[in-house]
């Protein structure tokens, strides 16, 4: 049987590993990804894991692309099938001309019968059983062994792999030897039995200098650390948990008083999300920068307090690491389906300032900015990332910090300022920007006021008076206009003569940019705008005005971004064509290209 070999694909392929969760495959997968990264090749890793501790199928996908297109590719060139339970599915997923590697200790030639796929059997279990003694290490070493096999097949730099092993097991020499042995065994087997390297192979480049491989929960936590957040309250929920885990780890290292050992931070694991947001509001009311990471179900629970924070004008920073809804949904899958729930969270006329980072790098900067915005605008600010950004490793530019940075603490009156006032009125807008000055508890008797979610007038007193109430809510509306000027401007790539544009959000960024390149190859030019904040600024309105056809690309079923545009701008809805992706896996460039092409075809037919 001969299979047509694909054209050589140097530095342009997708490797996928199917495994069983809880078997320690994560370190093997991360080693593969990092070795490619250190070879200077643009790479990304996406983890498709179950909501489970041990025993269910899990996949890890590594895309290598010398051009830097690092959205999910949607194809599999090399599959490592380590989970017999998913052999059938994994086999079916390999692209024509691709390769499937499996543990041939138990041969499955009947099952793996596709004529257009190369099947490479490696008796991983047999080799492990022959070389390692105890049962647990046989399982773990089987995983690390495929790193050796792939190193030979993909021509990875063995010196880099050795270096990564040394770093990982610096403190455990016995483990280092066993892992090195497993890699060498896998490498030798592949060299002896297969023609190495495959047409899909890595070649050293210099395209990852000044970059890091990092996930967005870690960078958001760094943003909180650098923004000076001191109180973090949370309730564990996938996929946001690792944000607080990272914050705690950083605080342990960078927030301990060197002399007293005291913790210059307070992390509180709340009893639920209702408690978590209550704590954030309490801490912010008292002047601390405070935040809570959560996901969709947490946002649902926080609605009551979000309305409270909006109406009483207390800063708060939330991270909604979006996962697949509705309800419990698919906790370990990604989506952008909380846009509406966040924009107008809570009953009554409420609206919230939102930030939409596209990747871990932006998650860092926007986390910092979220605290400035929350304190400047005295209102909750929600940073909407998603599971793809939060938990997957992305290649990002190095994060930079300007040591001259001064946080914007907003209009908080000092003792002297309070004393100089004839009388302090909490909700009196003296600057015309919709933002009234606040005081912190304990500062001065004259600065005292009563924070209440019930009707209040511009002086801060309780009211049920029609006119007094309306003055306050109208000012809140004006404050939202101020917010338009303060949220980050959209990212725009546009040529003036082009009247067709994309309008997208968050983690769609890579897929849409890749789609632009693919469409350009077929002669279709489409401009690009990615919203970075809500309320939408003038730049978004101008872009909508200057295009005749706008493809709104987002990862939810109900076109929530499109709905927001229709509600919050003057756009003619007929100009807005949705391109939607919502199956829980990250969006593909192909989905975007197909969406545009279908629309163009409809246009021609009409």
């Amino acid at each position: 049987m001969s299979i047509a070999s694909p054209r050589p694909q140097d530095n342009d392929f997708t490797l996928k590993i199917g495994n069983v969760n809880g078997t320690g495959s994560a370190s093997a997968n991360s080693m593969l990804m990092k070795s490619l990264f250190r070879m200077g090749i643009p790479v990304c890793g996406k983890n498709y894991f179950p909501s489970n501790i041990q025993g269910l199928p899990t996949w890890y996908e590594i895309r290598v692309n010398s051009e830097g297109h690092l959205a999910r590719s949607g194809r599999v060139d090399v599959m490592v099938a380590m989970n017999a339970e998913t052999y059938r599915k994994d086999h079916a997923e390999v692209a024509t001309g691709g390769y499937l590697i499996y543990d041939s200790t138990w041969p499955r030639s009947q099952l793996f019968n596709r004529a257009d796929v190369h099947i490479l059997g490696v008796p991983l279990s047999r080799i492990c059983n022959e070389n390692f003694d105890n049962a647990r290490s046989r399982i773990l070493m089987k995983n690390i062994m495929y790193v050796g096999v792939l190193a030979a097949l993909l021509d990875l730099d063995m010196n880099i792999i050795k270096q990564l092993l040394n770093e990982q097991f610096a403190a455990k020499a016995s483990l280092l030897d066993a892992n090195q042995k497993a890699i060498d065994l896998g490498f030798a087997y592949a060299k002896e039995h297969f023609s190495c390297p495959l047409p899909f192979r890595a070649r050293t480049l210099d395209k990852t200098r000044n970059h890091i491989m990092i996930d967005g929960n870690t960078t958001a936590a760094l943003g909180c650390l650098f923004a000076g957040a001191t109180v973090g309250a949370w309730y564990p929920i996938t996929p946001s948990t690792s944000l607080m885990d990272a914050f705690k780890k950083f605080c342990d290292k960078y927030r301990r008083d060197p002399e007293t050992g005291k913790a210059n931070y307070c992390i509180i694991q709340a009893e639920d999300e209702l408690g978590a947001i209550g704590m954030v509001l309490g801490a912010s009311w008292n002047g601390a920068r405070s935040f809570t990471p959560t996901s969709g179900p947490g946002i649902s629970l926080m609605n009551e307090f979000l309305g409270y924070g909006y109406f009483t004008e207390i800063p708060a920073v939330l991270f909604d690491v979006q996962r697949c809804g509705p309800s419990t949904g698919m906790p370990t899958r990604t989506q952008q389906a909380d846009l509406m729930a966040c924009a107008y969270a809570s009953h009554g006329d409420t609206r919230h300032v939102l930030l939409f980072p596209a990747n871990p790098e932006e998650a860092f900067y926007q986390a910092v900015q979220a605290f400035d915005l929350a304190e400047r605008l005295q209102t909750p600010v929600i940073v909407l990332t998603d599971l793809d950004i939060g938990m997957n490793d992305w290649m990002c530019r190095d994060l930079n910090w300007d040591d001259s940075f001064k946080p914007d603490r907003g209009k908080v009156l000092t003792v002297e300022q309070i004393e100089a006032l004839p009388k302090f009125n909490r909700y009196l807008d003296t600057d015309g920007d919709g933002i009234a000055a606040r005081t912190l508890p304990g500062t001065h008797p004259k600065g005292a006021y009563f924070t209440r979610g019930s009707g209040h007038n511009m002086y801060g007193a309780y009211t049920e008076d029609a006119a007094e109430y309306q003055v306050v809510v109208d000012r809140l509306r004006r404050k939202f206009d101020t917010a338009k000027e303060l949220v980050p401007p959209a990212e725009i790539h546009a040529s003036e003569k082009c009247r067709t544009g994309f309008l997208t959000i968050g983690s769609c960024d890579n897929a849409v940019k890749e789609a632009r390149a693919l469409l350009a190859e077929q002669g279709v030019h489409v401009n690009y705008l990615r919203v970075k904040g809500f309320p939408f600024g003038k730049d978004v309105q101008d872009y909508l005005d200057s295009h005749d056809r706008i493809y709104v690309v987002e990862q939810n079923r109900d076109a929530q971004l499109r709905s927001l545009l229709m509600l919050e701008t003057r756009v003619d809805p007929n100009k807005l064509q949705s391109v939607l992706h919502y199956d829980g896996l990250p969006i593909l460039a192909k989905t975007v290209v197909d969406g545009v092409n279908q629309d163009l075809a409809r246009g021609k037919a009409a």
Partner: protein
């Protein structure tokens, strides 16, 4: 409800505390509760206690949830910041506020609906954290603002004004607190001002979560015959298990207590409370015995009042979190931002 606002002029003979303030400096806005409401007596007791302790009004923070009880923080200490949160969620706001600034005196005022129904979860978790605050439950067994539904503290057999009889067993705050590890548990009656003021002072000085369950009759919806939370019923059935005296720091203990009955408890700021047993069988430092005692008397139809349990030795939230004595909110930015060099070094692990 009183319709006359008292002029803000202190009588020259009014006693002044260490801050040269009179009790009138601890007043708030005019109460809008019903005339004769137990809650107004509690408000008065809070003002008296804060005056007696010479707490600067602006160094107090008043927090509450929703309901008649939760309106009351507006009626005392106008010079304190107040936080009227959403229903049943005051403990979480108090937790965050306290995390940011441990220096203020936190006084939470809640009701039986706010604490024992919608807010039971948050309430018990504040107990678990041993949050340093005074938490008052103005307990009247009824929802007043929504006109007379039973609350979770209504006794079995208690009659509503409209005639219904409560069938469900009550959640007793004292027993619940004993079971969940609370470090300061007291019960009082809005009609016993002397006891209440002392307990409030002791509770404010307690380092940790101090709860006073105050039976506070609702004159409009739960003060009729057949109610077990009426003035008459409470007067008739309450029994003091223990008398409490509060002794400020640096003051000598002058009252002579009968030997074997006086039990001084040292508070963290140097003040003392002295407990005198009304009943020799009672021991307010023995959790198991206290539980048994309260429950036994409850079954006999008696409401046990006084400082029912105290443990001054348990760490509070800040001690457990090892936070500094100064407010986290006051730390300079340079202290909390690690700076560019640290960021560079952190990133070396991500290559």
């Amino acid at each position: 409800m009183s319709f006359i606002t008292k002029p803000k002029v202190a009588h020259p003979q009014l006693p002044r505390n260490e801050l040269k303030l009179t009790v009138r400096d601890y007043e708030g806005a005019m109460s809008t509760l019903c005339a004769g409401c137990g809650h107004d007596s509690i408000t008065g007791a809070i003002m008296q206690a804060a005056f007696d302790l010479s707490i600067p009004p602006h160094r107090m923070a008043k927090l509450s949830g929703i309901g008649c009880s939760s309106k009351t923080p507006a009626y005392f200490a106008s010079a304190s910041h107040g936080f009227n949160t959403v229903h049943g969620r005051m403990p979480s706001v108090a937790t965050g506020a306290n995390a940011a600034n441990p220096e203020l005196h936190y006084i939470g005022v809640s009701g039986d609906g706010d604490t024992l129904s919608i807010g039971l979860g948050q309430f018990l978790h504040a107990v678990r954290r041993n949050l340093n605050m005074l938490y008052l439950i103005e307990n009247n067994g009824v929802y007043g603002l929504t006109k007379g539904q039973f609350s979770a503290s209504a006794d079995v057999g208690s009659k509503a004004k409209k005639g219904d009889t409560n069938q469900q067993p009550p959640i007793d705050p004292a027993l619940t607190l004993l079971a969940t590890g609370a470090t300061f548990i007291a019960r009082s009656f809005s009609g016993d001002r002397e006891q209440l003021v002392t307990l409030i002072k002791a509770g404010m000085k307690h380092r940790g979560f101090a709860v006073i369950d105050v039976i506070s009759p609702c004159v409009t919806f739960n003060d009729h015959e057949g109610s077990t939370k009426s003035y008459e019923f409470t007067r008739k059935h309450s029994m003091t298990a223990i008398y409490t005296d509060f002794v400020p720091p640096a003051k000598e203990i002058r009252t002579a207590y009968e030997i074997g009955q006086a039990m001084p408890v040292q508070m963290h700021d140097g003040s003392q409370i002295v407990l005198r047993k009304a009943d020799g069988a009672y021991n307010p430092t023995d959790r198991v015995a206290a539980f048994e005692y309260i429950q036994k008397h409850q079954q006999a139809g008696e409401i046990v009042t006084g400082l029912l349990y105290i443990d001054e030795t348990k760490p509070d939230m800040h001690e457990l979190a090892n936070t500094p004595a100064v407010p986290l909110a006051s730390l300079p930015f340079a202290t909390v931002c690690p700076g560019s060099k640290a960021l560079a070094s952190i990133q070396s692990r991500f290559r």
